[in-house]
C-alpha cells in the first residue's frame, strides 16, 4: 500500500513539475485522455469507424516521418509498405486461416522485407532521385497486382478477411492504443542514440560517415523500421476494412501520407499524428456539412487541397511547429523550452528575451 502511495505521489510530482509546465505536454496528455475516453462519450458506429481509420493512418504518417523526416530519405511511395502488408495479411488470413494477431505481425514482416528490397537499390540515390525512384515501386507492384488477378483479386482486391475483433469499440481500442504505443515507440527511437544518428545522416551524410558511422546500415535500418510500422498500419487496415485492394497501393495514398505529415509538421513524430487527427476527421465533418447542400458539386477534395495550400503558404514549417513556437520559447542559455509568457527560464533562471 505504501508503495502505491509513494508511486502516486511521484507521478503527481512529475505531472506537476514536468508535464503541466509546458502547453505542448499538456496538449499531448489531453489528447491521450481524449482518445481513451471517446467511447465513453459516444459509441456511434460511424464516428468510431472514422476514428479507427484515423488512428491507422496516424501510424502510417508517423512511420513516414521516421524515414523521410528524420533520416531525410524522401519516400514518395510509402503506400508500398502499407499495400504489401495489407496483401500479405490478407493472403495469410484467407489462405492459411491465420488470426489477426498472427497475420498482422507477419504482414508487417513482409513490409520489412520489402523495405530491405527497396532500400538496397535506394541506398545509392539521394534527394530528388530517391524520391522519384521510390514513387515507382508501388506503381510497379500495382501493375503486377492487376496482371495476376488469380492470386491478388485484381481490381476488386481480396475481401472477406476475419474481423479485427468482435465489436466496434474493441476495434477502436485495439487500433487507438496501438497507435499511442507505436507512436511512443517511434518517438523514443527518434530520441535515442539511433535517432541522433539518423538525424546526422539527414543533415550531412558525408560528415556522419567521416565520424565513423556506417550510414548504409543505419539507412537500411530506417527503411526496415519505417516499413515495420507502416506494415502494422496496413495489416490493421486490411483486417478492419476486411479488404485488401489496389487502393492501398495508389499514388494518391502516398501523396496523402506526405500531405498529412508536412501539414502537421515534419521531423517530429507528433506532427504527422496531429496532422492526421486534424485533417481526417475534418474531411468527414466537411462531408456531413456538404451533404446538406446537395446542389453544390463535389468539392470536398478541392477544399482539402486549398486548405493545405494556404496553410503551407503561411506556415511552411507545418501547423504544429508553428503553434508550438507561438506558445513556447526556448531558453537562450540552457535550451530548455518554456511557456511563452515566462520572464525567466524555469530551469536556469536566465532572463528570457
Amino acid at each position: 500500500m505504501r508503495i502505491v502511495v509513494a508511486y502516486t505521489r511521484r507521478m503527481l510530482k512529475i505531472l506537476r513539475s514536468e508535464v503541466l509546465v509546458l502547453p505542448s505536454r499538456v496538449a499531448v496528455l489531453v489528447f491521450v485522455i481524449a482518445i481513451l475516453a471517446l467511447p465513453l462519450v459516444t459509441q456511434d458506429y460511424y464516428i468510431l469507424r472514422i476514428m479507427i481509420l484515423t488512428s491507422i493512418f496516424a501510424i502510417l504518417a508517423a512511420s513516414w516521418d521516421l524515414l523521410s523526416g528524420f533520416t531525410g530519405q524522401m519516400n514518395f511511395g510509402h503506400a508500398l509498405f502499407f499495400g504489401v502488408s495489407a496483401y500479405v495479411t490478407a493472403l495469410l488470413n484467407l489462405n492459411l486461416g491465420f488470426p489477426p494477431y498472427f497475420s498482422i505481425p507477419l504482414g508487417a514482416m513482409g513490409a520489412v522485407l520489402t523495405g530491405l528490397i527497396v532500400g538496397i537499390p535506394c541506398l545509392r540515390l539521394k534527394g530528388s532521385y530517391l524520391a522519384l525512384t521510390t514513387l515507382a515501386f508501388p506503381i510497379i507492384l500495382m501493375g503486377i497486382v492487376f496482371a495476376i488477378p488469380g492470386i491478388t483479386g485484381g481490381e476488386l482486391g481480396l475481401s472477406g478477411l476475419t474481423k479485427l475483433t468482435g465489436s466496434r469499440v474493441n476495434d477502436y481500442y485495439v487500433t487507438s492504443i496501438l497507435m499511442l504505443v507505436l507512436g511512443g515507440i517511434m518517438w523514443k527511437i527518434t530520441d535515442s542514440n539511433t535517432g541522433i544518428i539518423l538525424h546526422a545522416i539527414r543533415e550531412d551524410e558525408v560528415a556522419a560517415r567521416a565520424a565513423g558511422i556506417n550510414t548504409t546500415r543505419y539507412k537500411l535500418l530506417a527503411f526496415c523500421l519505417s516499413g515495420f510500422f507502416a506494415g502494422i498500419a496496413g495489416g490493421l487496415y486490411a483486417h478492419f476494412m476486411r479488404l485488401a485492394g489496389p487502393s492501398t497501393l495508389e499514388i494518391g495514398l502516398s501523396f496523402q501520407v506526405i500531405i498529412w505529415s508536412v501539414f502537421g509538421g515534419m521531423v517530429s513524430i507528433y506532427g504527422p499524428i496531429a496532422g492526421v487527427y486534424i485533417l481526417n476527421p475534418f474531411m468527414e465533418v466537411l462531408r456531413v456539412i456538404l451533404d446538406n447542400f446537395p446542389s453544390l458539386p463535389e468539392m470536398r477534395m478541392f477544399i482539402f487541397a486549398a486548405l493545405v495550400l494556404l496553410t503551407l503558404r503561411f506556415m511552411p514549417e507545418g501547423l504544429i511547429p508553428w503553434l508550438r513556437d507561438k506558445v513556447e520559447t526556448e531558453c537562450p542559455r540552457c535550451k530548455v523550452r518554456n511557456v511563452a509568457f515566462r520572464r525567466s527560464c524555469r530551469i536556469c533562471n536566465a532572463a528570457m528575451t
Binding site: 522519384l132 510497379i140 503486377i144
Partner: protein, 289 residues
C-alpha cells in the same frame, strides 16, 4: 504492327520529351519538383475543349489561347504559392501536389468525370507500309518535333537560354555574375509551363480528356527525368523516347499490356539506376551550398 508501334512510340516519346524537358528545366533552375506540371498539361487540354466545343472557336485559335492562359496560370501559381516558401523544400513539394489536386477537382466539378474529346485539326489518313496512319498523328509528330527543335535552339543559342542553363548549373555563381536569378526562374517557369501546355495541345485530339489524365504522364515524366539524369536535357530527350517506345511495345505485344505499361517503364528506370545511379546522362549533382 511494327509501323503502329513506331508511330505510337514516336508520338508518345515526343510528348513525354516535351513534358520532361519542361519539368527538368524548372527542377534545375528553381529546384522545384513540380508535381503540378502535368496538371497544367491537363489544364491546357481542357481549355482547348472549352474553346472548341463550348465557345465554337476554331481549333487553332483556341489552342493558342489555351497555351497563353495556361502559362499565365502557371506563373500566377508560381508567384503566389511556390516562391514565398522556396526555402522549405517539403512544403513546396506539397504545395505543388495540392495545386495539382485542386486543378483536378476544379475540372471534376465543372465537367464531371466524363470522357471528352476534341475534333482533330486535320482529317483523313495516309497509308504507310500498308498501315493506316491518320493525318492527325503525323501532324502531332511533326509539331512535337518542331517544338523540340526550337526549344533546343532557344536554350543553346539565345542569351536567355544561356542564362537559364547557367542558373541551372550553379545558382549562386550565376547570382554573383549579376544575373537576376529570380527573373530567370520566372522565365524558366513560363517556358516550362509553355512546353507542358503545348504538349497538351498536341495530344488533345488523340486522347480522351478527363480529370485524371495527368496521373499517367506524371509517372512517366518522373521516370524519364530520373532515367535521363536530373537536369540533363539530352537525358530527358533520350529517356523520353526509350520509355515512349517501351510503353507502346508493351501495350501492343504483351497480353494484359495496358496494366503492365507503367510497371515495365518504371522497372527499366530502376534497372538503369542500379547500374548508373545518376541516370544515363546525369552528372552527379554538386551538393547544395
Amino acid at each position: 504492327m511494327i509501323v503502329d508501334i513506331l508511330i505510337d512510340g514516336l508520338i508518345k516519346g515526343s510528348v513525354y520529351a516535351l513534358l520532361a524537358i519542361g519539368f527538368s528545366l524548372v527542377l534545375g533552375v528553381a529546384r522545384i519538383v513540380n508535381i503540378a506540371h502535368t496538371a497544367l498539361y491537363m489544364t491546357s487540354a481542357y481549355l482547348i475543349y472549352v474553346g472548341t466545343k463550348m465557345m465554337g472557336l476554331p481549333t487553332i485559335v483556341s489552342m493558342v489561347a489555351a497555351v497563353f492562359l495556361t502559362i499565365l496560370l502557371g506563373l500566377l501559381i508560381y508567384n503566389y504559392f511556390i516562391r514565398p516558401i522556396q526555402e522549405h523544400e517539403a512544403a513546396m513539394l506539397i504545395s505543388t501536389i495540392a495545386v495539382a489536386m485542386m486543378l483536378q477537382e476544379v475540372f471534376l466539378m465543372i465537367f464531371g468525370g466524363h470522357y471528352l474529346g476534341v475534333n482533330p485539326l486535320v482529317r483523313g489518313y495516309l497509308t504507310v507500309l500498308g498501315v493506316r496512319v491518320t493525318n492527325q498523328h503525323l501532324l502531332a509528330l511533326g509539331l512535337a518535333i518542331i517544338v523540340l527543335i526550337s526549344t533546343r535552339f532557344f536554350l543553346m543559342k539565345t542569351r536567355t537560354g544561356l542564362a537559364i542553363r547557367a542558373t541551372a548549373q550553379d545558382r549562386e555563381v550565376a547570382n554573383l555574375m549579376g544575373m537576376n536569378v529570380n527573373g530567370v526562374a520566372m522565365i524558366t517557369m513560363a517556358v516550362s509551363v509553355g512546353l507542358a501546355s503545348i504538349a497538351g495541345a498536341i495530344v488533345v485530339p488523340l486522347v480522351t480528356v478527363e480529370p485524371t489524365m495527368w496521373m499517367h504522364p506524371l509517372v512517366m515524366m518522373l521516370a524519364i527525368v530520373v532515367l535521363g539524369g536530373l537536369g540533363s536535357l539530352e537525358g530527358s530527350f533520350v529517356g523520353a523516347y526509350i520509355l515512349g517506345f517501351s510503353e507502346s511495345l508493351v501495350v501492343f505485344m504483351v497480353p494484359m499490356g495496358s496494366f503492365l505499361k507503367d510497371s515495365v517503364a518504371l522497372s527499366i528506370m530502376i534497372l538503369v539506376l542500379l547500374i548508373r545511379p545518376e541516370g544515363l546522362f546525369g552528372v552527379s549533382f554538386e551538393e547544395e551550398r
